[in-house]
């Protein structure tokens, strides 16, 4: 890795952009926020952009002959172009949704709406005998919609297993990814294990058998440079609130040619071409997939958050994340009563580190950390099958963002050392 992590001075300046990081919790303790994998904090300029939109240019976008509507539309479409350039795409390939879950459902419904008689492309025609392939490490958001799609269409759901080391087990891929596979849906980065999957390799293998690929890019987008052309997938979903932007806005990127073939998901105003009582025709993408009044203000906030990510540099964010992850993994390795669920090295791995402590439930671990002002996620992190795979009811997860520091990793390890004593177990 050639890029440098952030210096102490840079870290201080980054943290100053996130006012919430200076608050205290639990009786005056400084907040150590290690839960950005669930939701990251908003960078000030994203909030400023939202407020400016509302105070200076608020109007319905894409309608109205007045100046405010023009300006609102410009800011909204400017945000779309900003998102597109961030992932190496064209603006008309970017669909704004409510969140990544909606993006993934939009993708899944393209298949069943095609079967239901909407204009169809053979690639989207999913029936009994066809297969949908996912992985055992998916977040429920990229699993349950495909389970439901299989149920609605009669197709079969299959999945790529995960190794004990927390990597996809690709040894049996040839038997799983076949000419019966119509779609391969998988995550860029596991939200539990931190594993970075070989996206290009999987996308190429899927293309070779004629299957479409859908990437859950939620955990990758805030950590790693993301170029949809390089990754080679057909559709990708990510979420504003995990990348310093607001909640209420997600993105579905799709190849223009494929989006053109996809039937609408949510229907109504703004997504039509012509409407008659007997039936309607639909607008071209991305408007076809943005029924109703869009989340224009949140989209503008996301655009500003992306400006900030680019200003920091995704390669430097990745380098910084790498340093924090290495320090945390090394610290946990010194504690034999802690087991990391996921890769214990930093190869193809980012800073989402899940772990269990011997004989102590993750909820109780999280409570002890919270008492020291340290915010981690506990539970199954919406990846219940993956937890079953690792025989864990629940794990505690520390996840990083660009604003975290090595001091915070130390604070986590120090607080963690209280766990054995509090619960009277051997350390």
């Amino acid at each position: 890795m050639t890029a440098a992590p952030f210096s102490a001075g840079e870290s201080a300046r980054i943290r100053a952009e996130f006012p919430i990081l200076s608050r205290t919790v639990r009786g005056g303790k400084p907040l150590v926020y290690l839960d950005s994998g669930a939701t990251s904090h908003r960078v000030s300029r994203a909030l400023d952009a939202e407020r400016a939109f509302a105070e200076e240019a608020n109007a319905a976008v894409h309608r109205g002959a007045h100046q405010l509507s023009e300006e609102a539309t410009d800011r909204f479409e400017g945000a779309r172009a900003r998102v597109a350039s961030f992932v190496g795409a064209q603006a008309d390939e970017v669909v704004f949704t409510k969140n990544a879950t909606e993006s993934l459902n939009l993708a899944a419904y393209a298949f069943s709406n095609s079967v239901a008689g909407q204009p169809k492309d053979p690639r989207l025609d999913l029936r009994e005998g066809d297969e949908v392939l996912v992985t055992e490490m998916e977040h429920h958001a990229n699993l349950v919609p495909w389970q439901e799609l299989a149920r609605r269409t009669g197709a079969t759901l299959r999945w790529i297993p995960v190794t004990d080391q927390g990597r996809l087990d690709l040894d049996g891929l040839d038997g799983l990814l076949t000419e019966r596979t119509k779609v391969l849906a998988f995550t860029h980065v596991s939200n539990v294990l931190g594993t970075v999957n070989p996206v290009r390799e999987l996308a190429d293998a899927a293309r070779a058998v004629g299957a479409l690929t859908v990437l859950d890019a939620c955990q990758g987008a805030p950590h790693l440079p993301l170029d949809v052309q390089d990754l080679g997938v057909d559709l990708a979903a990510f979420s504003g609130h995990k990348m310093f932007g607001p909640t209420g806005v997600g993105v579905l990127w799709g190849r223009r040619e494929l989006l053109e073939q996809m039937p609408p998901f949510i229907t109504g105003g703004s997504m039509i071409e012509t409407v008659r009582m007997e039936g309607s025709t639909y607008a071209a993408p991305p408007q076809r997939f943005e029924a109703g009044s869009p989340n224009s203000m949140q989209a503008v906030g996301l655009g500003a958050a992306i400006d900030y990510l680019d200003e920091l540099g995704m390669d430097r964010i990745a380098a910084h994340d790498h340093v924090l992850t290495e320090a945390l993994l090394a610290g946990l390795a010194e504690r034999p009563w802690v087991r990391v669920v996921g890769p214990t090295d930093t190869v193809d791995r980012v800073g989402a580190v899940s772990f269990v402590a011997d004989e102590v439930h993750a909820h109780d671990v999280g409570q002890v950390l919270d008492d020291a002002g340290i915010a981690v996620r506990v539970g199954h992190h919406c990846a219940w099958p993956l937890h079953r795979r690792f025989r864990a009811t629940a794990t505690a997860r520390a996840s990083f963002a660009a604003y975290n520091t090595l001091d915070e990793v130390e604070a986590l390890l120090t607080a963690l050392d209280r766990v054995p004593a509090v619960f009277g177990v051997a350390s």
Partner: protein
């Protein structure tokens, strides 16, 4: 940390009346979907109506110290008591746990349950502490026991998993 009273750790390490036993009239399985904790719980009653006696509560629980300890307290406080008494104990536990720290709990009514008073200050943990109790009320309802003469409100009837 004052949340983890010695009594809680005691109960969570050696949960009273743990394990599944016969006979029983109803068995339920409850899950806390946010953390994946689970409890399978059986109830054995003798008699009918509110004066029926809870002869046994047996259970198999997978959970954090708070949920395990609370289920242990449930078994300890309720076995051998009438259903009417059990419902009063449940109401007192619930009142304490949902009081946001205002209600310290009455040891005469809930016994070791008072050690769980600190949970009320952590709203995210209240569900943990109520898991076993909700399973118990659900199991009670499933025995078909007639509780029309009690004030078993919908709120205390528990939710099915």
């Amino acid at each position: 940390m004052d949340l983890y009273q010695e009594l809680i750790l005691e109960h969570s390490k050696r949960p009273r009346h743990a394990g599944l036993r016969e006979p029983f009239e109803a068995e339920v399985h409850h899950v806390n979907p946010t953390c994946g904790d689970e409890v399978t719980l059986r109830v054995h009653l003798e008699g009918s109506g509110p004066e029926a006696v809870v002869r046994d509560i047996s259970y198999d629980a997978l959970g954090c110290s708070i949920s395990t300890a609370s289920t242990s307290v449930l078994a300890e406080e309720v076995i051998g008591h009438t259903v009417a008494e059990a419902l009063r104990t449940l109401a007192a536990m619930r009142a304490m746990l949902t009081s946001r720290g205002e209600d310290p709990g009455d040891e005469d009514t809930i016994g070791d349950g008072v050690a769980l008073a600190g949970v009320a200050r952590y709203p995210a943990r209240v569900k943990c502490a109520l898991l076993g109790w909700m399973a118990f009320t659900d199991a009670l309802n499933r025995t078909g026991i007639d509780l029309t003469s009690t004030d078993l409100s919908p709120e205390t009837r528990g939710e099915t998993a």
